[in-house]
């Protein structure tokens, strides 16, 4: 467990961050080291070369694409609104890395990295399903968890919690929400 300070340890760049700074100096936007999680923010156009580098370079050697998701900063009013978050794990070196790529709302797309790891395919589909972030070059970008007729993208913050989809019967839900006894 890390020390109980909230002071930013983020100032000192980690080894991987330094490496990425050297290699992709023009695309690296930001980095931090909060709570020991090495994190870099990169321009979304560079996601494919960066991931390629992370997978193939012997100093990185990230065999595992652990997780791919997005975060919606709508309520925080941040611009760009979305951030696609990649988590990587290297078994050879034992380190982890988080890569984030900001995606604006009006041009909601990022390049697909499905050719680098086979696991990416479904993660990108899920991300599209949930956030509406388009992964250009993805072979089969269809809904994964929701059904085809679903309208909207449920994990966007402006998708209301209690929104009724047209395919659902409203009657039963009204009944359930009526709290208390007759």
């Amino acid at each position: 467990m890390t020390e109980t300070t909230t002071a930013p340890e983020s100032e000192a760049p980690g080894a991987l961050t330094t490496l990425l700074q050297q290699q992709f100096s023009d695309t690296l936007l930001d980095f931090h080291n909060h709570r020991g999680d090495e994190t870099v923010r990169i321009k979304r156009g560079a996601i494919v070369p960066v991931c390629q580098f992370l997978r193939d370079d012997p100093r990185c050697k990230f065999e595992l694409m652990v997780d791919l998701t997005a975060v919606d900063y709508f309520e925080q009013g941040r611009d760009p609104r979305f951030e696609v978050v990649y988590h990587f794990k290297s078994l050879a070196h034992g380190h982890r890395l988080r890569v984030k790529a900001p995606v604006p709302e009006d041009d909601c797309r990022v390049d697909s990295i499905h050719e680098l790891w086979k696991a990416v395919n479904w993660y990108e589909r899920e991300c599209w399903d949930m956030f509406g972030i388009e992964f250009t070059g993805h072979p089969n970008l269809t809904r994964l968890l929701m059904y085809e007729q679903f309208e909207g993208h449920p994990l966007r913050k402006d998708y209301p919690m209690d929104r009724q989809q047209p395919i659902m019967e409203l009657r039963e839900i009204d009944e359930r929400n009526q709290y208390g006894r007759a």
Binding site: E63, L64, L145, M146, M161
Partner: protein, 409 residues
Amino acid sequence: MSMETALAEPQLAGLPIEADEDTSIMAIEVGPEHPAMHGIVRFTTYVDGEMIVDMIPEIGYLHRGFEKESENSKWIQVIPYTDRLNYVSPLLNNIGYSMAVEKLFGAEVPRRAEYTRVIMGEISRITDHLTCVGAAAMEVGAFTFFLWFIKAREYLWELIEQVSGARMTTNWTRFGGNATDLPDGFLDDLQERLDKVKDILDECDKLLSKNKIFIDRVKDVGTISKEDALSFGFSGPMLRACGVPFDVRRSDPHSVYDELDFEIPVGTVGDCFDRYLVRMEEMRQSISIIEQAADKMPYGPIMTDQRWVDYPDKKEVYGNIEGLIEHFKMVMEGHQPPEGEAYAVVEGGNGEVGFYVVSDGSGDPVRVRLRPPCFNYVQAMKHMTVGHYIADIVPIFGSINMIGGELDR
């Protein structure tokens, strides 16, 4: 149409084939309602005779909006939801989520709490493996094996009940510690029950592990190579069965696992037989971990004394007004971890369970993301089943231990 020609057909390699009278290919819907589908998942399987030529997994039937629900809750209210993710090892999810939020807080967990977490987590892992191996064995016909395992699981769930107050919906961890300490006499009871579980494991091992009928069913079935497994993002027993000794408990040591001695079982081939053996061995290792942790169990508090991480002590709440106000504020406004993001991993029952949490400093999470291990396994189902018989779906699917709640969230 033979296997080779069927695979050579361009449309078969990719997306749905129209199964019509001209081809000998038949489409079979395995699931969503099917006895071998634990949880609900659908495999549209294309078979040539009994040989699978293509398969389209479809998930989402159990999607309950865990992440959306969490983002509309307070931080503490997410813990009960995590029980329902992997519902055969809920404690590991509790622990993972709490670790993620503790990482945000920068909170330190007392050692006794860590040791109890290890014990409870390993019990949970055993129940997970018991369910998985038992169910997989049941589906290849070893029903007795399954019910003996269920009996063993029953012993362990009663233990979990003694500590947390519920068998499956445990809601046991809190930020900075655990809700309850181990009750009196728990460690003796634990040892007694672990001995029973060990006996059952030995019996079941004799019953099945050397039975040629069983070996025939699982050997060289659902084989996946090391490279493919890594590319598909496998973790946990599935990856270890391929021969990669990757265990989050060792690679990213959390809790007090680096003070405990255990071996990581690995397989060689990466087929269902290896997965079965790895899981069987892992249960024995877990028992040994529990015994070590019980021996080393330190005395001390089970909650961190850091303020604003968890509710103040009940004595404070009842005794003085500051404590009461702090308690009131924490309940009404929720726990407020500092702004930032954290990714915490635990070795779950069937792989790396990761929680990615983002906070903006308020009482409501911005993002709670679960990285489900079986998501990757179900994605690889097509890769593992094509070329096998339709009956092989059952052991392969059993061995990946898909948990619907975790997969669809």
